[in-house]
């Protein structure tokens, strides 16, 4: 099992712990990764202003992976959604594909649509399987309540992304539960984190983020869990910015899925980059089964 790892733009610059933790768990699970350094932006941020630039950017990545006979695994849900969308559009629209290929040809690339695009969670659930992950979980959590945040661009539009059931998805919940944690029900589970508007309309973005945080907290979550840099930065960095302004009563730290899984697999905290999260995750280790405190909770 080998994938071209698509880390996108945010992760190497602002969320290195996502890459390092993902590499650590994938390594333990036997998933091989190839790095294509020529990869560029997925095109997601260009969609608002220039459709063609967006498709071109995505297509170039897919052509690069195709050239090496590799499927793509994205860590970011917005990258995933954009690559999927561009792939879908070019498969539907032959003249668009031709137009894009005419540009790619200048640097010896060609998009044919042979590279499959998967998100990390999809790979873990379908290619690795929960059963296999379960065998590697050596320190299951007990009584840890996790609010799983699915993220929009991995679920919708379902016709294009085909990740999971868009109305009642379960992949992420099952992956959280394999660590021993509870994936709680919470009303705004499938709603947007607010990140797409951070920097564009901060008040609106903040309203949406706060709504989710409040909702998660009210539903009994100890932590939020994400698998997307935009969502994670929104719930971590932006939450700490909002909190710094002094009007918070809903602090709910967020961690990345590979950090959660990695902890239960016994991977060291440094590889998982726990110390790099803005909001402290302190106390999460209290939920390990072997810990006396956690045991007490159970009885």
């Amino acid at each position: 099992m080998k994938f071209a790892l698509f880390i996108g733009c945010n992760i190497p610059a602002r969320l290195e712990q996502y890459e390092s933790s993902a590499r650590a768990i994938l390594n333990k699970l036997g998933v091989k990764l190839a790095d294509i350094k020529e990869f560029n932006c997925c095109g997601y941020p260009l969609q608002n202003i220039d459709f063609k630039a967006f498709v071109l950017a995505s297509a170039r990545n897919l052509a690069l992976a195709e050239k090496r006979n590799l499927n793509v695994m994205a860590l970011c849900k917005c990258c995933f959604g954009s690559l999927k969308k561009a792939d879908f559009l070019m498969k539907e629209n032959a003249s668009l594909k031709k137009e894009i290929n005419a540009i790619l040809e200048k640097e010896g690339l060609k998009y044919e649509g042979n590279a499959e695009i998967k998100h990390l969670l999809y790979v873990l659930y379908h290619d690795v399987s929960v059963l296999h992950i379960e065998k590697k979980v050596i320190r299951p959590f007990i009584d840890l309540n996790i609010a799983t945040h699915y993220g929009c661009h991995v679920l919708r539009p379902s016709k294009v992304v085909q990740f999971d059931n868009p109305v009642s998805p379960s992949i992420f919940d099952k992956l959280v539960e394999v660590t021993g944690a509870n994936s709680i029900d919470w009303p705004t589970k499938l709603e947007c984190c607010g990140a797409p508007l951070w920097g564009v309309n901060d008040d609106l973005s903040r309203d949406l983020t706060e709504k989710k945080l409040r909702d998660g907290k009210k539903s009994g979550a100890d932590y939020l869990c994400t698998a997307c840099p935009y969502c994670q930065i929104q719930f971590d960095t932006v939450q700490s910015m909002i909190a710094a302004k002094g009007d918070d009563n809903f602090q709910l730290p967020s961690l990345l899925y590979p950090q959660l899984l990695g902890l239960s697999m016994g991977i060291d905290k440094k590889s998982l980059g726990l110390q790099m999260n803005r909001l402290s995750l302190g106390g999460i280790e209290d939920f390990f089964g072997s810990d006396g405190k956690a045991d007490l909770k159970e009885f």
């Binding site: 733009c9 602002r14 932006c41 941020p45 220039d50 661009h153 990140a195 797409p196 949406l208």
Partner: protein, 582 residues
């Protein structure tokens, strides 16, 4: 000649002084305009001294060896380019030290030094050929190898040409000198008072046979006894003259020109060529501070200062100075372009300023206070905004320029000028939002409002409070344009059930959504159905859309609502650009 040399040196010195002065005089940071010149100079001196007397000296030493001398940063990116640069840089530097400065360096180190004996004679040609090899690779890379988005400008061409002319004129000079009969005669006169004509002829014959001299009247082959006598006499010359074949490049050239050598000699070619070689070197020296070659000084400085300074803790005065200095450190090598995350967008949006290397050129103009046209400023602003802030350019820059910080500063400076930037209304603003407190705090909202109002201002209907419109479709062309993606021409299937609006988390966020958002999603679909462009473009809803696809997922009619909103955004921006372009 001495006067010209001093003149060149003076121009060079003044040029360097001028360049260095710009580092302290110019500024591009929004916050540093007020810092005075003397404060900046003083801060720089203080910074340098405190660095030199701290543990950082070891970091600097490491950077100097790895990044300046061995250029590991380039090696990590591209072996061919590293090899090319090492050839030119090692060859040229050694030529400079051993050959150009032989009187003050080589002779001091080696008392027996003569440019015409080995190993110096051989090494000189070896270094020269190394430079030529590097130059050939440079030409191959820039003009034959199709490296995507590698830009070549006149400064790059000048750099290649000046080095090539210096080296080739040197080799040609060497070749003509080898063949020169008059030079031979002059040397004999100066060092060897031979009165005997026969002895003179023997020595000449020996030099014709073994040293490549071409005589106008004597032709080989010569008798053994003549050569034997010549060899005996040559004993006095060997001390200073190795066989010229060791100077393989010049010797090769001598062989090529041998048929015309007497003519060249007659016209005093060696002297003429010496002047050319010498003057070209002086020209290169005098113009160096104003050419790309200035990077010989500025690039190591950029690497070292960036290694010594740590981001936020540094004195703002020094950051301002460093950022201007970095502009001079750029060698226009194009590494940033080849690794830039959004450089590919240049193929769809023909704005050179999308490419980091070209952005630098534009920022140089800005920093120097050049008057730029409205269009130029808009293009620079768009190019700088069209950046995902992925930091790759900074990570890969072979001379260590902190490009991302530079973009951040210039972005804020440009946004302050008050031209609408539409990319501000995209997720590209995410980073600006994260760095709110570092930017133009009080002007933070301004560009966002400006871009929106620029769009609304081109939608005439938005200015009419009570809109009563004819029912007939008003703009069929607009509807036809909504076809970039397959989903987007589905708006006509909308029957106004409002499921989209009910599902929208943005709509749900407001008590009175219409007041804030203008048209709501189902109304925008309806406006698109009726072909009322202005209403579709002018609504805040368009730019407040999260693109979470809740509406599209739930639409019972399969209308690609989110995708239609995407396309309306594209068209709205195009509409403004079309209407404002002169």
């Amino acid at each position: 000649m001495l006067i010209i040399t001093y003149f060149a040196l003076a121009v060079f010195g003044l040029g360097v002084a001028y360049k260095v002065s710009t580092w302290f005089r110019y500024y591009i940071d929004i916050n540093t305009g007020e810092i005075s010149l003397s404060t900046r100079i003083f801060a720089a001196i203080k910074g340098m001294i405190s660095t030199l007397f701290s543990m950082k000296i070891f970091t600097l030493l490491k950077v100097f060896i790895l990044d300046v001398l061995l250029q590991v940063r380039t090696l990590r990116e591209d072996f061919l380019r590293w090899f090319m640069h090492i050839c030119i840089y090692v060859g040229f530097m050694l030529l400079l030290l051993m050959h150009a400065l032989d009187k003050s360096i080589t002779s001091e180190l080696f008392p027996d030094y003569f440019s015409t004996i080995n190993p110096f004679m051989f090494l000189r040609d070896l270094f020269g050929v190394l430079v030529i090899l590097g130059l050939l690779i440079a030409v191959y890379r820039r003009f034959f190898l199709r490296i995507p988005r590698l830009m070549t400008n006149s400064a790059d061409n000048y750099a290649i040409i000046i080095v090539a002319v210096i080296i080739f004129s040197g080799i040609i000079l060497e070749g003509t000198k080898i063949t020169s009969h008059s030079k031979f005669q002059q040397m004999v006169e100066d060092y060897y008072q031979l009165d005997d004509q026969e002895e003179l002829k023997s020595l000449e014959a020996y030099w014709i046979t073994n040293y490549g001299v071409i005589s106008p009247d004597l032709k080989g082959p010569f008798k053994a006894n003549i050569l034997a006598l010549g060899e005996e006499l040559n004993e006095g010359c060997v001390e200073c003259h190795s066989r010229p074949k060791w100077a393989f490049a010049g010797y090769g050239f001598a062989k090529i020109i041998s048929p015309v050598a007497p003519v060249l000699d007659k016209f005093n070619a060696p002297v003429l060529l010496w002047y050319i070689h010498f003057l070209v070197c002086l020209l290169g020296l005098a113009y160096l501070p104003f050419s790309k070659m200035f990077h010989i000084f500025s690039s190591p400085l950029s690497l070292l200062t960036n290694a010594a300074m740590d981001g936020e803790k540094s004195d703002p005065a020094n950051i301002a100075t460093r950022q201007i200095m970095e502009l001079d450190a750029c060698t226009h090598c194009g590494t940033c372009n080849s690794r830039c995350s959004v450089a590919v967008a240049y193929e769809a949006i023909p704005n050179m300023n999308i490419l980091p290397s070209e952005k630098i050129s534009s920022v140089k103009k800005l920093a120097a206070g050049k008057i730029l046209s409205y269009k130029e400023l808009r293009d620079i602003q768009e190019g700088i905004y069209l950046c995902t802030n992925c930091n790759r350019c900074t990570v890969v820059c072979p001379v260590g320029i902190n490009l991302q910080d530079l973009w951040f500063n210039v972005r804020e400076v440009l946004l302050k000028k008050g031209y609408p930037e539409f990319f501000a209304l995209s997720p590209l603003s995410f980073y600006r939002g994260l760095r709110k407190k570092d930017g133009a705090q009080k002007d933070y909202q301004k560009p966002l409002g400006l871009a929106r109002s620029a769009i609304v201002s081109k939608c005439e209907l938005m200015g009419i409070p009570d809109k009563s419109l004819p029912l007939a479709p008003t703009d069929g062309k607009f509807q036809n344009n909504l076809g970039l993606s397959v989903q987007a021409n589905t708006f006509s299937a909308c029957f106004g059930c409002e499921t989209c609006t009910t599902a929208c988390p943005v709509v749900a966020n407001y008590e009175n959504p219409k007041e804030v958002l203008g048209l709501l999603p189902h109304q925008i679909m309806h406006a698109a159905g009726l072909g009322i462009q202005d209403l579709a473009f002018g609504s805040n809803m368009l730019w407040d859309c999260l693109t979470c696809y809740q509406c599209q997922e739930r639409c019972p009619q399969g209308v690609g609502i989110t995708d239609i909103l995407y396309e309306l955004k594209n068209l709205a921006v195009k509409n403004v650009k079309d209407k404002t372009s002169v």
